[in-house]
Point group: C2
Chain length 255, copies 2
């Protein structure tokens, strides 16, 4: 089945999120405020930041005692040793270290700057708070999807996204780190093109393309619009996980 | 200015493209067939493949005599020595070589598999044809933009896109390799978030997010839908070039 038209809209009524807020309720309320309803096949794209806030993934740096390895690494990368301690706790390994740059592999297996630990956009008088990635973004996506489907009766996919830098290319793009209700990779293998050749590009990172598309709306301003609905997109239905997009180290020439 | 809603549609009436076809005419005809008109601010996203075909970037492998370095490299990567010769002619350097994998930096400065040289989807009785990237995708984008603007009187941006694999993540995504009428990177530096912190993610690869969004429509099937219009997206107007997204080698830790 081909699709010729896609529509995307950002929900405007998402309030500041605090620990233990129910994102399902928040999303349903914002839909209702905008007089919108979910439809079968919609993709609900949620930024990592509000998922982490709802799940209480906050660390107060004043409570963090950096260990010796964090202090040594902090010297190299020229960052707050307490922040480096938090980053190391979130990581299974360091990929690159250089002044101003710390790229690690998170416990989930994502490779990104600072293990995705983020300092901006946290509402508090306390300037020492940092936000870590959700413990299990795929599980977060499944939980949100289940809640939305139970409340609305329609079948949607849910993505949790984060903005990552890339090798070779400047600037960050929005990517999927959690997935529910779809397989993140569309497999075109076995399909021939219209002239009978085997397709050279055989797998497409559909979840990442959806995440990047949503980033056009969610990441456009400092304010942020943390929930975007994508309607009309073709994606492989299934029970996949975002971690399926992680390239196994043995097949990765760039670690 | 914030945008809350984006619409994307693929043009259905794009025929097979041959050398010297005028893509401006082709796009205008396809718009007309679909009873659509361009509007100010639209982004016209065109896959590299039809640009290369229109520009005659075809090489018949039967005419290619591989040099000694191409023959040696072909052994290592287990590819047709004539194809490797074409790839090397398109490249300023080899980034990685391994059985089945040849990643190079093209003369434009893009790092990708096989210098973007592609075998599929070429209409001919001659199975030995391969398609190279356009000589200057930014210039191609500018040419298409100028033609569309002259014909329609509206101001649009134009992207030329290609599908690339990535380090760390499996599967390919659509990216911009040519840009006209916009700056590819949105610079959020200096903006504070709503709680007064400086934004941690300061530059966003807007052209790549637009390309990935279009990839949801253009890359969904073997047939392909090589022209997608994106309407309502916020992007930085300007006279930028896609090559501005190339990370300088000195700042790239993954070569």
């Amino acid at each position: 089945m081909e699709s010729h038209r896609i529509e995307m809209f950002a929900l405007r009524g998402i309030p500041d999120i605090a620990a233990d807020d129910d994102l399902v309720v928040v999303i349903l309320d914002a839909l209702s405020d905008d007089k919108l309803t979910l439809r079968n096949g919609d993709v609900v794209v949620v930024t990592q930041k509000i998922v982490s806030k709802a799940e209480g993934c906050l660390v107060d740096l004043r409570t963090v005692e950096p260990a010796a390895d964090a202090r040594a690494l902090a010297e190299v990368v020229d960052k707050d040793p307490r922040l480096v301690e938090v980053i190391l706790r979130e990581s299974r390994g360091v990929i690159r270290q250089r002044k101003g740059v710390l790229i690690t592999e998170t416990h989930h297996g994502w490779i990104c700057a600072n293990a995705g630990v983020d300092r901006s956009n946290i509402a508090t008088d306390n300037a020492e708070l940092v936000l870590t990635l959700p413990k299990n973004p795929d599980a977060s996506a499944r939980r949100i999807r289940k809640g939305l489907m139970t409340a609305t009766g329609v079948d949607v996919a849910v993505l949790i996204t984060d903005s990552h830098g890339r090798p070779w290319r400047l600037a960050s793009v929005n990517l999927a780190i959690g997935v529910a209700g779809m397989n993140p990779i569309a497999d075109l293998r076995g399909q021939s093109d219209r002239f009978g050749y085997q397709l050279q590009v055989t797998t497409v990172g559909r979840a990442d393309e959806l995440a990047a598309a949503a980033g056009l709306l969610s990441g456009q301003a400092a304010e942020g619009l943390p929930v975007v609905i994508i309607r009309g997109a073709n994606y492989p239905r299934g029970d996949g996980q975002a971690t399926e997009m992680q390239r196994p180290a043995a097949r990765d020439l760039f670690r």
